[in-house]
Homo-oligomer: 199 residues x 2
DNA sequence: AAACAATGTTGTCACTGTCCACTTAGGATC
DNA sequence: GATCCTAAGTGGACAGTGACAACATTGTTT
């Protein structure tokens, strides 16, 4: 548990932590194993003992990010109505993306996503299944009762993922949407998930 | 116009073309200026005469892609009803992304988008304004007449961008949406843009 | 005490982006 | 038509990177 005096430390966690820092401050392209090692004060090839390749480092970040994202979304679903639970999950997803832009960017990186771990894959699949179940429940309550549930799932996932990206990438703001805030996001989600009576 | 015998050729276009090839076949990480030069049969630093930096090459791809995307979306809007025109534009956007995954991936790359050219920025802004206008027209016809048009725009952009990503990234399929096809995409868009009477 | 596996180090390799000085070709200018 | 000039291509260099291999150090296990 010594900090940095001895030869050993708790690298790996330190690496992941520093990686998130770099991603948040300097962007994706600036992330390099050697720079991380340098910042931590360790040999340039020490990281390879914990992540045999740079891709493995990114995978680990994706694993951690995916776990946190799904956990937050699940915990947010507390309402009694299924539609409201879907709303809470989507909103939590978007808020998590806004709070953790580094994780979110790694998580939606095509190369990372393509080679995701079985662990992450399972987690995402289970989350999709949960949403599927909630959609069916909401349909049983009369919400879009005649529509294909898979279409509803695609619609919800597209809307949520798209909103998260637009909300986290300031680049999208100027050419497209103006003043992006919590109220606007919630109102947008309500267009699909809201009940006309309550706000 | 000689092909490759002389010292000169029409590099730049050749570079852009080869870059798209590489992006489609080997992915984003495999794109390197030196490899492009090697494939074309030219010196390793020849590309720098046309693109002072790798980022400029990506910017050029984004410019071209953005122009094509907006053009296709505009041309697709031929219906007499504003909602239908919005539907046509969104569908064209998604189809273009599916047909041009390389361009689409460059176009939605955060670093590229952040440093986009004024040209591309203007094009995207104008397209957003066009959608804004169509939304207002549709609202005048009674569609979501009481909702904030900016919320409607955010909703539409999120939905379209999100669907395009899910449709182009096969990685999304297994953990989330099953069998993604034209009919499903259209049905999903119709949930927001459709008139309940037709289809 | 000795053997061992985990972790960290140094040195090296191929590759990349970028800069530089140099060459070449084609068009403009006198 | 000879001369200048500039755009375009060449080859050499440099630092930074991911990855590999051989070696060193540690804490743990036997």
């Amino acid at each position: 548990m010594q900090d940095e005096s001895y030869h050993h430390g708790n690298l790996r966690e330190e690496l992941l932590k520093k990686a998130v820092e770099v991603l948040n401050t300097d962007g994706f392209d600036a992330l390099s194993l050697r720079a991380l090692a340098r910042q931590i004060g360790v040999s340039h090839s020490a990281p390879l003992r914990h992540f045999p390749t740079k891709a493995h480092l990114l995978q680990a970040l994706a694993d951690e990010g995916g776990a946190r994202l799904v956990q937050k979304a699940r915990q947010a679903a507390t309402a009694t109505d299924a539609r409201d639970r879907l709303f809470e999950m989507s909103l939590a997803y978007i808020e998590w993306a806004q709070e953790n832009p580094a994780f979110h960017r790694v998580l939606r990186n095509p190369e990372v996503l393509r080679h995701r771990s079985d662990d992450l894959n399972d987690r995402l699949s289970e989350f999709a299944d949960l949403q599927r179940a909630e959609i069916r429940t909401a349909q049983a309550d009369g919400w879009h009762g005649n529509d294909d549930p898979e279409v509803l799932l695609l619609h919800l996932m597209s809307l949520t993922a798209g909103t998260a990206i637009i909300a986290t990438e300031p680049s999208y703001e100027s050419p497209g949407v103006r003043d992006m805030n919590h109220k606007t996001v919630a109102a947008s989600l309500r267009l699909f998930l809201g009940r006309s009576d309550n706000l």
